[in-house]
Amino acid sequence: MLESTPMSADDRLDVIDVLATYPRCLDSGDVEGLAEVFAPDAVLDAMNGSFSGLTAIFDWARGLIAGGRVGASPPQLVHFVGLPSVEGDSQRCTAQTYSVIITYSPEKAITVPLVGSYHDTLVKKDGKWRIQHRLIKGELGKTTQ
């Protein structure tokens, strides 16, 4: 087992990069790109259920995209992710991040149907940070997406 030391600047920047990759994947419809976000045995507790392992998480993302707005081209929905709060060491950390869901209608109206938050546990394996567990909570708004 690797010895835990304080998180380095590189660790923090790598974690921030993982957190930033998630909205890019969803908003562009890049389902397989989520392999750069979640560990192979990750658990995603979303607002519509719990999903274990990358295959189940991919299927969850495909379900969102099948809804027609997530990952649409041209874009109809954006996950605007705020500044994360990250605490931990060189091997394991937690992160909390707000996500403002912004939608765009054919009439060119911009609305905010949901403000959510991500509560993550990340681990570093083989030198790469990945989300081991993500809990998605609704903060404001009533949508179940």
């Binding site: 923090r12 705020g82 500044l83 909390q96 707000y98 403002v100 149907p113 403000v115 938050s117």
Partner: protein
Amino acid sequence: MAGLMSADDRLGVIELIASYAWCVDKGDVEGYVNNFLPDGVVEYGNGNRCVGHDAIRRWVSGLLEIKQIGSESGLRHVLGLPQIQGGGDGRCSARTYVVIPRLYETGEIGIRLVISYIDDCVKVEGRWRFAKRVIRQDLVAAPQPVAESARDDDPRST
């Protein structure tokens, strides 16, 4: 100015600024207060000012009591990337935009406020704290009826 700010110091300041928002939205008064130096200053609204932990604690506790902050406020503080300027002398300044969405009675979410945090930060015993935070209102939406759990009022934002 004593050299350049290290990446660790910059990230320490980012973490301070990010954790502040979660303290506000969770209603963590002591977490909020402890982000400031013992003689730290908060300036907000039209010349309002709190100096020191006791004054900051009274102010924040009052805001929590009337649900202007905390999990039942109907508000959340979503921060942008801070601009940080400083040297290697354990002091820096930072400016951060904050978007504050609010849940309205209709079930819709609107952007209630866009504010700026203008901070003077100091590193003491290895940890960054606010010496002074100025909360500046940039954009303020007209009041609307808010959801049952939240109040609408004078936007003395945090």
